[in-house]
């Protein structure tokens, strides 16, 4: 591991060469909006919100999967980037059936927060009003695909952390949807351990716990980094030989 220096938004910073631009920016309180990224899960670079400019290239780079290099000059808030981010959220808003006023995570929703952050007040594209399925067959949880933004956090947390791989994606393009096991009711899934991790990491009201009222539910994602760190460091093994 080597130490290198780079510039983000005019600030000279030092970083390790195995760190991503997003990690470095967050360590220095430089805000970059993200949706698919979640600390503790692998990165897939799919939401495209974290795209940044790197001097010397016309292309845009996802901060969550781009590693720092010596001398890089990175810009995270140019006019072009902000416009693209606003349009991404605009596209998401038009894609699903996001009825915030009657959602249990209203006011605690990452999609809503992103919309405020990028200054989105309305969408210029027609709403697609897709027909999406809601599944309340699980005793504790509900999946409402109308509110799903296909970030695949649930897929990854279930596969990578819980090891159950209940969730996956079916179909392609605009018809993509999250399915449980072989596209069967969640409640009949033999692989689901009812751990609830997917519900906690879901950025929107797509995965929710039963019994919550409108605007009542707050998601917690912090637990993830503790689990993952503990696993990497094998903290459950007593190195000093004591019980």
């Amino acid at each position: 591991m080597a130490i290198l220096t780079l510039t983000i938004d005019g600030e000279q910073l030092s970083a390790n060469d195995d760190e991503t631009l997003l990690e470095i920016a967050r360590q220095h309180d430089i805000a970059i909006p993200t949706l698919c990224h979640l600390e503790g899960l692998s990165d897939v670079g799919s939401c495209r919100l974290c795209l940044v400019e790197i001097e010397g290239s016309q292309k845009l780079f996802p901060a969550c999967t781009t590693r720092a290099q010596e001398g890089m000059v990175v810009r995270t808030k140019t006019e072009r980037l902000q416009r693209n981010r606003r349009m991404i959220i605009e596209l998401l808003a038009s894609e699903g059936n996001h009825q915030c006023a009657v959602c249990v995570v209203n006011n605690h929703c990452e999609l809503q927060n992103l919309a405020y952050e990028v200054g989105l007040t309305h969408t210029r594209y027609p709403y697609l009003y897709p027909k999406k399925r809601l599944d309340a067959s699980h005793p504790d949880f509900i999946i409402d695909r109308n509110r799903c933004v296909l970030c695949t956090r649930c897929v990854r947390v279930c596969h990578e952390v819980e090891g159950a791989h209940v969730w996956d994606i079916a179909q392609r393009g605009i018809h993509c949807e999250i399915i449980s096991d072989m596209d069967q009711p969640w409640g009949t899934s033999p692989s689901c351990t009812s751990c609830g991790k997917c519900v906690l990491v879901c950025p929107t009201g797509a995965l929710i716990a039963k019994g919550e009222n409108v605007a009542e539910m707050e998601k917690k994602t912090d637990f993830l980094k503790y689990i993952v760190t503990a696993r990497v460091k094998r903290e459950w093994i007593n190195t000093d030989g004591e019980e």
């Binding site: 999967t65 693209n84 596209l91 179909q171 392609r172 393009g173």
Partner: protein, 566 residues
């Protein structure tokens, strides 16, 4: 198998062919098969049998002969005559009149001195239409596997890579990445296990170059892959081919079996330490599975979705191992470069785009089919000399290259040399080799809509700009093409096209806007002509509530404007 054994096999086959009185070649590629070349073959065989000629005259199926629009095609080996539209009756007459009486069947004879034939230069397709696609002996007699023998017994891997690098060969899958450079990266990657993959997914609508090579000369690909395997240090190859190509799959399976039987694939090739196996992986025909990272996932049995690069497959590929991935046509160029030298290859084409390129000519053009031309040839020569121009009474309007990722080139750029850089300057790409000609009857908004429909359908759905953006671009194009669009819609369309291009994860989304942007660049009036015109609005004639009011206000936006429920 040693080099001597290979030469012996070649001689034996050449002798066999020499002893025949003649050979009748019929095109057994998918195009001619679909218009009845098997029935033609049977009729020819029957006619030969009736005259007791079946032992002296061999009838054999070859790869694509090029002029697909005039099939079934039949060629007489001894004098090179080619016949078009050979139905069963014509087949019988060819045997009777041409073979027995020495009189050519005039009505079906093709003039092989016409530019369609004389302006082409065949390297990739040199065997197509000449050898039996199902015989390894014929491939060997034509010099096949000689390059592999030389590479394995006489050359160091580094020298092979150097030779490919010096030839200037660039990837024919679309992006034109220098092949020698890619091989060098895989060679340098440290790993016990490496792979060589052939991308035969060919999902562009209207493209059939790779299919034709695989159907007509499958051993060429196996030989190219084995040479690549030796050069980069891979011992396992995969050919990823779409299930829609059953004939190519069948021929590849047969070719692999034949090569294995002769020890040209497998262990200790040419009695060296080099082992190389090739397996087929059949794709389900998703366009996005042609994208290299999605393709590799699909080979692993996972969902075909692209992932961000870097890391590139050359470093992290199949099952995490360094993996070389090249296109069919790229591999087809390898053996000729080894045989004839990099200097020969670099002398063809232009300094930056060397060699030849195979194109599938389609659309409003007289000679549709498969052609191979030196890089840098002016577009005009391809369309008017080789293609014979547009049909009677119509005028050339544009040529589309690069399929759903490419652009339209208008008449004013007809003298553009066809190479990677020049095509990029007019907003198109070389692509894999689809070339669709459009005449004055084509509507460019419809063309853009057609390709956007394709991209929207084929989007894997992983990233937001491509998954949702293509749907709205399509919707805007549809609104405009129905005469319901406003200047706002056009502005929205352009903004969205740029955004999808800039922000999408993989090449599919990044290039999906190209057909729209290039038709907007060269045929903008076709869009603006369709916009609803508020200034010519006469209130007394059945007022349309949607177009009332100024076109620049949100209210005129066909009800599209709405606030979020947030």
């Amino acid at each position: 198998m040693t080099t001597e054994d290979l030469h012996e096999l070649a001689e034996k086959e050449t002798d066999r062919q020499r002893q025949l009185r003649d050979r009748i070649l019929y095109c057994a590629a998918a195009g001619c098969v679909s218009c009845g070349s098997h029935a033609t073959r049977d009729a020819i065989k029957k006619a030969l049998k009736e005259r007791n000629l079946e032992k002296e005259v061999e009838v054999l199926g070859t790869g694509c002969m090029g002029l697909c629009g005039e099939g079934p095609l039949v060629k007489i080996s001894s004098d090179g005559s080619v016949y078009e539209r050979v139905d069963e009756e014509t087949g019988r007459r060819i045997v009777e009149e041409h073979l027995c009486e020495g009189r050519k069947v005039g009505a079906h004879l093709i003039d092989t001195s016409q530019p369609f034939f004389s302006s082409q230069q065949k390297i990739v397709l040199e065997h197509c239409g000449k050898i039996n696609a199902e015989s390894i002996d014929e491939y060997i007699a034509a010099g096949g596997y000689g390059a592999l023998a030389r590479v394995v017994t006489e050359m160091q891997p580094q020298d092979v890579i150097e030779e490919i690098r010096k030839s200037g060969l660039r990837g024919r899958g679309g992006a034109g990445y220098p092949t020698g450079l890619k091989w060098g990266i895989v060679r340098k990657a440290k790993s016990e296990q490496k792979y060589a993959v052939c991308n035969a997914d060919e999902g562009d609508p209207g493209a059939f170059m790779d299919r034709s090579v695989l159907e007509g000369d499958p051993h060429r690909i196996l030989e190219g892959m084995a040479i690549a395997g030796y050069a980069v240090g891979a011992n396992q190859g995969y050919i990823y081919i779409r299930a829609e190509y059953p004939l190519a799959i069948e021929r590849l399976k047969l070719a692999i079996k034949q090569a294995e039987r002769l020890g040209l694939l497998g262990n200790r090739i040419f009695e060296s330490d080099f082992n190389f196996r090739i397996d087929l992986r059949i794709g389900a025909g998703a366009f996005v599975c042609g994208e290299e990272t999605a393709l590799l996932r699909s080979i692993q049995g996972r969902r075909g979705r692209p992932r961000p690069r870097p890391p590139y497959p050359s470093e992290v590929g199949l099952w995490g191992m360094p993996t070389l991935i090249n296109n069919v046509e790229t591999y087809a160029n390898v053996a000729p470069i080894i045989n004839r030298g990099s200097a020969w290859f670099a002398g063809i084409g232009t300094p930056k785009s060397t060699g030849t390129k195979v194109f599938a000519l389609a659309g409003a053009i007289r000679n549709t089919g498969l052609i191979e031309v030196p890089m840098g040839i002016p577009l005009r020569n391809i369309i008017f000399d080789i293609g014979g121009g547009t049909p009677e009474g119509t005028e050339f309007k544009a040529a589309q290259t690069g399929g759903p990722s490419g652009g339209c080139i208008p008449a004013e750029h007809l003298d553009l040399p066809v190479d990677y850089e020049s095509l990029a300057t007019v907003g198109s790409i070389m692509g894999s080799g689809g070339l669709i000609v459009m005449d004055s009857t084509s509507n460019m908004v419809e063309v853009a809509k057609y390709f956007m429909d394709f991209c929207m359908d084929e989007s894997c759905g992983k990233c937001i700009p491509c998954r949702v953006g293509t749907v709205h671009i399509y919707g805007l194009l549809d609104t405009i093409s129905r005469g319901k669009g406003t200047t706002d819609d056009l502005a929205l369309l352009e903004e969205l096209c740029v955004m999808v291009k800039e922000t999408s994860l993989c090449g599919l989304g990044q290039s999906a806007s190209n057909p729209v942007l290039s038709t907007l660049k060269f045929f903008r009036h076709e869009y603006t002509d369709l916009l609803s015109k508020p200034e010519s609005f006469v209130p007394s004639v059945s007022p349309d509530p949607a177009s009332a009011g100024p076109a620049d206000g949100p209210a005129a936006n066909d009800g599209h404007d709405s606030t979020t429920h947030a």
